[in-house]
């Protein structure tokens, strides 16, 4: 850029041959694009940028406040219905708990009558069940013990008792309910002379399939 102003450095370098009467401060700015233009442009641009930023922020705040007002209106409008729904829901939960208590009280993987019916249906002719002992108080270790007698010669009777255990193990319903079906004892019965046996059936713990 051309300028009629002379810097102070030049003044120091070249000695003046006549007195310099110029008042540099008062001389007009003769640059092609005046410095004031740059200053004004920068100042206006900064002010505009800040104004836009503030405007955007205020618009965002206003928008949020409007949405908050809408949400509050929605809350106020539905609050009565909501309170009623919560009250009914609490009643429902309380009643459901009562029904659940009754359902859990009677719940059992297999009823005693169903168990006995299965025994009746699977019992071979040579086997007689003398007693059934069901221990059901502890839900974690419910078990049944069968005691009976096997007719016939002892060598065959022993095989019949084992075959009966296998029959029980193979029964789909019993397989679903019991974890273990084990012969606890097979021995001659002193009173009858027949072979007596004891089979233990342990229910699967709750939740195990």
């Amino acid at each position: 850029m051309l300028s009629l102003k002379k810097s102070d450095e030049q003044a120091d370098v070249e000695p003046l041959w006549h007195p310099d009467f110029r008042n540099v401060e008062r001389l007009p700015d003769t640059k092609v694009v005046r410095t004031t233009f740059f200053i004004n442009t920068a100042a206006i641009a900064t002010a505009l940028a800040l104004l836009m930023w503030l405007g955007y922020r205020e618009f965002h705040i206003r928008n949020l406040e409007q949405q908050i007002a809408d949400a509050e209106h929605q809350i106020d409008t539905n609050s009565r219905h909501n309170n009623e729904a919560l009250r009914l829901s609490q009643i429902f939960t309380d009643e459901e708990k009562k029904l659940d208590a009754a359902v859990n009280f009677v719940r059992s993987p297999i009823s005693i009558t169903e168990f006995i019916e299965i025994l009746g249906n699977t019992l071979p002719a040579e086997i007689s069940i003398e007693s059934i002992d069901a221990r059901l108080s502890d839900p974690r270790s419910r078990s049944y013990v069968l005691r009976g007698l096997v007719a016939g010669a002892r060598d065959k009777a022993s095989g019949s008792a084992s075959a009966y255990v296998d029959t029980l193990r193979a029964n789909p319903r019993l397989k679903k309910v019991f974890d273990e079906i084990t012969p606890e004892r097979i021995a001659p019965d002193g009173a009858t002379g027949l072979l007596s046996f004891e089979i233990s059936l342990k229910e699967k713990p709750e939740g195990k399939k």
Partner: protein, 185 residues
């Protein structure tokens, strides 16, 4: 900087001076309003979540009143099937009635001690029952207990063939039960 200097600067660069002043004011406003967006956003998030929950509650509860009526009726019916733990005579009558209906011989029926520690709405009322009869009658007795008007839970059950060689006792069995019937305190 004196007032005269400020006035001189203003006269020299009036636009820049006004813009600078405006920038100062805008900067101050931006600074002081900077927390409002975060506060409003948090407020909006909380309120919109609450509103959505309420709307969901209201829309999900359209048939709740009828459902509550239904479940209350079911509970009332269920409570009608509960024993009153204090009514010993009436409770024992249940077993005597079963004895008559199923034609078994009631050897013994005894109420056991009720646990008082439980604060539940319903309590198990325990009984020891011993009956004798043919297999079919005993099964009928057991079935009536399982599917009868009262909620029954068996703690233990022992079926034993009656000892004895005579024809009458050949088919007879004894059933000893420890059971609980659900009742109200």
């Amino acid at each position: 900087m004196t007032t005269a200097d400020i006035v001189a600067s203003f006269k020299k660069q009036p636009v820049a001076f006004v813009c600078g002043l405006l920038c100062l004011i805008l900067g101050g406003l931006l600074y002081f309003r900077s927390g409002v967006v975060d506060t409003d956003q948090a407020d909006f998030d909380a309120k919109s979540a609450q509103a959505a929950k309420i709307v969901a509650n209201v829309s999900a509860s359209k048939n709740l009143a009828e459902q509550v009526k239904e479940i209350q009726a079911a509970t009332k019916e269920m409570e009608g099937r509960l024993l009153q733990s204090g009514q010993l005579g009436i409770n024992l009558q249940y077993f005597y009635k079963l004895e008559t209906e199923t034609e078994v011989k009631l050897l013994d029926v005894r109420p056991n001690g009720i646990s008082k520690t439980s604060k539940a709405a319903y309590i198990p009322v325990p009984f020891s029952v011993s009956v004798q009869g043919p297999y079919k009658q005993l099964m009928l007795f057991l079935s009536r207990l399982e599917n009868g008007p009262h909620f029954c839970h068996f703690s233990s059950a022992t079926f034993t063939k009656l000892a004895g060689g005579d024809a009458a006792s050949q088919n007879m069995m004894t059933l000893t039960l420890n059971l609980e019937l659900l009742g109200q305190p």
